[in-house]
């Protein structure tokens, strides 16, 4: 089980402290809020990429540590504040890995098997079916066509689709991925909703 590195026990997040962080990120509060969210989202993904099972907690711990440091560094820090988060995240990750050596970045232990999940897939499929119905016809067509076929046939298929839509292949790729991300999010909500009713 992952553990989150312990923080200074006496420290408490206050409105002032958070306000200072936001001011450091940007003078405009709205933009600062956006930057904050973007940084948090990226940190979570980074921790996921590094194999952490408590990525959100680690991202929040990173942010908390930066918030504690802001009063000391805000006036003198030069450069993109996001990079400071990166440095702190590195230490948080190191501490985290020390606390769970069995799950360090070695490749000794395979992940949980996911083969025995027929029911999960079934639920996932049902949700996907419903989420597909929420897409616009155009987007539904695009996603179904984009993911058809395999290997070489798939590549050719996508070239034809891009031509038909008047898009460059990479633009089509990005568009399909965005639709997929929306679908994935919708399915996630559907699954959560379903499990909360079980």
């Amino acid at each position: 089980m992952d553990t989150v590195p312990s923080a200074k026990r006496e420290w408490v997040l206050t409105a002032d402290a958070l306000d200072q962080l936001l001011s450091w990120l940007d003078a405009d509060k709205h933009i600062a809020g956006e930057k904050y969210e973007e940084i948090r989202r990226t940190l979570i993904k980074i921790f996921v990429c590094r194999g952490c099972t408590t990525a959100e907690d680690l991202a929040d711990e990173t942010i908390n540590r930066v918030i504690r440091k802001v009063p000391d560094i805000a006036r003198t820090y030069v450069g993109n504040p996001a990079l400071y988060f990166s440095g702190v995240a590195k230490y948080v990750l190191l501490e985290h890995e020390k606390k769970r050596p069995d799950l360090s970045l070695s490749i000794s232990e395979p992940p949980t098997r996911i083969d025995d999940e027929a029911e999960d897939i079934e639920r996932e499929y049902e949700c996907l079916d419903q989420c597909m119905a929420h897409l616009t016809p155009k987007n539904r067509d695009l996603i179904l066509y984009y993911y058809q076929e395999e290997k070489l046939a798939k590549i050719e298929n996508r070239k034809r689709l891009a031509e038909r839509l008047g898009l460059k292949l990479n633009a089509l790729r990005v568009r399909a991925d965005r639709i997929r991300a929306n679908l994935e999010e919708c399915v996630g909500k559907c699954l959560t909703h379903a499990s909360s009713r079980m």
């Binding site: 897939i121 996907l128 399915v187």
Partner: protein, 392 residues
């Protein structure tokens, strides 16, 4: 271009945990400071998962994928989603949706251009009209050819059946299929087209005993201070209403399957019209699966005018010269059976095709058992297929 390729290579290595610490730090810095680069990470994460599913990873990549990439629960969830999407697409859209795309993109653009030319009385008017006539003529010809092809297929199946011994149970059997009906399209949209932020504005803090004590206070503090910008893609939640969870109710399941079949009807091959009242046959492509595997069950909505249901049973493995198929209801009553069925190449792969008189099919769940005739003269089970029938 070269840089983009290099970026993708680096990110892929990062995702598989193949980079040295220093490189990992550098790439993480870029994720935090370059949103495009971060979006590329998200895209490649999905593509890597897809590559895994289609067996496109090298041996070493596969090892890293299993031992490193899949370690986080989020990734395992992502894989489940990719599997579901894969199945959905292969079931719903086994055949290209060129017609739909042509309608939604090509024809719309073409019509707008023509309309503009007419309005402006451009000299190109005559040429455009001539082009339009040619396009219409070509589409008409394609439709005629298609219909002739389908008629030929049905006739061929009937001829084959006629040449074979009388079916067990005395009922005519033969080849093939794909459900086709008018799609009821849900007009609801996922309103946020951009990739939405998955995190709420400020998450609860779960670190350390002291932080636990002050969790509520921290949340309150953050909620007060960070208010979403009206136009911010990172703070605006996706407006799509979470769909209702799946119900265990059989009727709901049937409805869901029916809807899936309707969606599938959109993806007919170019020129292939949807099934309309008055057409004599419908078709359904089936892949082998277990009764539990709901994704392997297809539903066909039989129109009153349909005379034949063509079942196309896709072959997963084994290659026998001839096959025996038996159709039973869920209660075990044999509806029809057929021997000496020969495999044939279909647009979806190798399969066996049978034709079932629609009058034999009532609203029910059906099981098709396919057996291949081995060299020793014994029949060996090669697959079980499930489908449901509902009627208009």
């Amino acid at each position: 271009m070269k840089q983009a390729v290099e970026d993708e290579r680096l990110i892929k290595q990062y995702l598989l945990g193949e980079l040295a610490d220093e490189q990992q730090t550098e790439i993480q810095d870029r994720f935090l400071t370059d949103p495009e680069f971060f979006n590329l990470l998200l895209l490649l994460e999905n593509e890597l998962t897809d590559e895994y599913l289609i067996g496109g990873l090298s041996e070493s990549e596969l090892e890293r994928f299993n031992s490193y990439f899949l370690r986080a629960p989020e990734r395992q969830q992502k894989l489940k989603f990719a599997k579901a999407l894969n199945k959905y697409v292969s079931e719903t859209a086994t055949e290209p949706s060129q017609r739909v795309l042509a309608q939604s993109v090509g024809l719309v653009k073409w019509w707008r251009s023509l309309r503009d030319i007419i309005r402006s009385q451009n000299r190109l008017l005559v040429f455009s009209l001539a082009t339009a006539s040619l396009v219409l003529a070509a589409a008409g010809a394609a439709l005629v050819v298609y219909r002739a092809g389908m008629k030929y297929e049905v006739a061929q199946v009937r001829d084959e059946n006629a040449a074979q011994p009388a079916p067990l149970g005395g009922q005519e059997l033969g080849p093939s299929t794909v459900p086709q009906s008018q799609t009821n399209q849900d007009s609801a949209k996922l309103k946020n087209q951009a990739r939405p932020a998955t995190s709420p504005a400020l998450k609860s803090q779960k670190t350390g005993a002291s932080q636990h004590e002050h969790k509520g206070e921290q949340e309150q503090t953050r909620a007060v201070l960070i208010k979403p910008h009206p136009s911010s893609p990172t703070t605006v939640e996706t407006k799509s209403t979470p769909p209702n969870p799946p119900s265990g109710d059989v009727k709901d399941r049937l409805r869901t399957r029916s809807r899936r079949a309707e969606v599938g009807a959109q993806y007919a091959p170019p020129g292939r019209p949807r099934l309309a009242e008055g057409r004599p046959f419908q078709s359904l492509t089936l892949t082998a699966g277990t009764a539990r595997d709901v994704t392997a069950t297809r539903t066909v909505e039989l129109a009153s005018a349909t005379e034949q249901l063509l079942l196309r049973l896709m072959l997963e493995s084994g290659d026998y010269p001839t096959y025996h198929a038996e159709i039973r209801t869920a209660e075990g009553k044999v509806i029809s059976s057929e021997t000496d069925l020969r495999p044939r190449q279909t647009p979806s792969g190798k399969g066996v095709v049978l034709s079932v008189p629609a009058k034999l099919l009532v609203i029910d769940n059906y099981i098709v058992t396919l057996r291949g005739l081995s060299k020793d003269g014994d029949y060996e089970r090669t697959g079980t297929y499930h489908f449901s029938v509902i009627k208009k």
